[in-house]
Symmetry: C2
Subunit: 396 residues, 2 copies
Amino acid sequence: MTLLFPPRSRPALIEAFTDPKGFGDQTLRDRRPDAIELLGGIPDPSVLPTAELAEATARVLARPGAPSLQYSRTEGIPALREWIAAREGVAVERVLITNGGFHGLAIAVQTVLERGDLVAVDNPVFPLFLRGLELADARVLPIRVGAEGLDIDALAAELRAGARPAAVYTVPEFHNPSQSSLPTARRRELVELAEKYGFVVFADDPYRELRFHGEPESLAPFHDSDHVIHVNTFTKTLGPGLRLGWIVLPERLIPDAVALRSRQDSHSSTFVQAVVAELLTGDVGVFDRVLGGARALYRARAHALAEALSASGSFDVTVPDGGLFLWPRLTDDSLDADRLAAAASAEGVEYQRGSFFPSGPGTDADRHLRLAYGDTSEELLVEAAARLARAVARQR
Amino acid sequence: MTLLFPPRSRPALIEAFTDPKGFGDQTLRDRRPDAIELLGGIPDPSVLPTAELAEATARVLARPGAPSLQYSRTEGIPALREWIAAREGVAVERVLITNGGFHGLAIAVQTVLERGDLVAVDNPVFPLFLRGLELADARVLPIRVGAEGLDIDALAAELRAGARPAAVYTVPEFHNPSQSSLPTARRRELVELAEKYGFVVFADDPYRELRFHGEPESLAPFHDSDHVIHVNTFTKTLGPGLRLGWIVLPERLIPDAVALRSRQDSHSSTFVQAVVAELLTGDVGVFDRVLGGARALYRARAHALAEALSASGSFDVTVPDGGLFLWPRLTDDSLDADRLAAAASAEGVEYQRGSFFPSGPGTDADRHLRLAYGDTSEELLVEAAARLARAVARQR
């Protein structure tokens, strides 16, 4: 049969997607079989509650009529939403269950942004968020991230100069990649700007529960405003493979987000929601026990890696207050960072180059390395630091 | 602080969504506490493998390093994709794991359709698909569904007359709501039209494994064409609450669907995928045992309801060959179907009115009732038929 009509072009939605480059394309590289991989923010299996999840599953599936295997509401099951709402200190109606943090960001992007909108983002930035922004073919306005998180003064200056972003994206606690946290007072200023200029803050907060030094910053500025979507997840605490997270929405955005979600995948797995709700409510102390174990482990690993790198003399290192990343800076400004990454790979250590993270000019991100220490033992972290030091030495 | 800028309008994506009416708004109605609900295509919990799922979960979570709690590929985990590919008889690369059948349809809609495209759909149609189409703000071309499924001659006539749909949506086996199946020869004709006119067939096939009479129609016409997305799910066989399904894509559409998915929710739950893969591969016969139990149960229920309705004299009934729905027609053309639904509700039986299902004019759908018998016992189905007969009698 003859083809009478030419092939259709791809929809504009799909056409706006770009091929991954830099961050995310490393699977193409050849690696040593004994390579130590410090690539992703992956929680260590030893601090995930595997036995407790198996027990919770058995209890959930033993319930008469197996409600965990049936349809449920788009917003999420009541038991899980109520637990989250109580922990977050928000009304349960504002909690929408998602398939993890990235899904929460995608829902925020699609609910708030018109195609082609301007979005102010961290610089340096979590690169996968920029991929998510392609769902709205958004334009990016980079805003510097400093030692106190997103530079609110720089954002305010852009706004005064006429920039009109529809949203501002930031990781407010244990910034990915640069470790810093946005102080409570700065959060208030950010929210005031959002309310004044009419944009929505996408506060991406997956590491918040993994604090091992100091006191947490307040969530009140985010939760008290109707110009913030606060994105969170069980990914870093109970395991990425669950694909379970939540967003706290302002009331005015709830119907739109639910309408979107009900047209895309109806609702998150009732089964996963029921298992996690049973885990969290069946044993009231379990979540804090899990967090206690995780924080102790990640603190020890962060210190081990930071100290080993520091001792080598090749890196300026700040021990983070939490999270899963170290962002050391090369002390020698004459080193070629790309050649260093290749040399490190040859020595058997893989990491994300700092040059993968800028969202615009004006940072020294290319002088940094992003090292993820969550799922690597102290012994191997020390070995990784030694390999990095050898790779640096080979550059001289 | 003053609001300097007017509130932004909603994105066009969200603005295209309409409020549910008819199908899906029934939760607003008052019901009798003893109401028999024949509303949704819900599998009976007694034929879902709850104990086997709990055992599979325990085995999966006992694996060293708990890989089921970690990130996995957007396409799905190999063990599950391979099982599905073998059962479907397609290359594993063409299988994309989804969060259930509706999610598969949403991915098809977003991957293939430009906003405002024309889509030919079943008439009558599964109404929630029309909600999914709102993701692309698509226009609808209704095509009659008869005793042999989608009327391919009517579609061909529309195409000859100049209609240029970007896609054609149909439920090819045990059509929802009208029970009919598209014969293999007609599937071939549909695919030939797709290849000739350059549209994509969205074949929505959630009931296929629930055949309890006759022989299945062939899937080869769908799988042999690069103009078909075949949408399937474990919803009706292992439970809707898992939110686990798959689509078989033509090779040319795989990169776009994966790129979309990787920007929306990354991947389906590794945990759910691993549990179901362990269930299906750990005990080779388990899926067919589950299906055997389900088919026997639904056959008995379909017959019980069909016979009780038939005996009342108020309905023309055809016993279906499979699936979860009966589509009886009122014998008395003078009855007011909306008043009947209200009377039935007063008698204590809830169903979906036939008038909720047309996608355009020209059907007698409003003379039908859609009765879902999957999760109601034979005894209650017979009682429901008696209540319906009383409701009919009260209209005379």
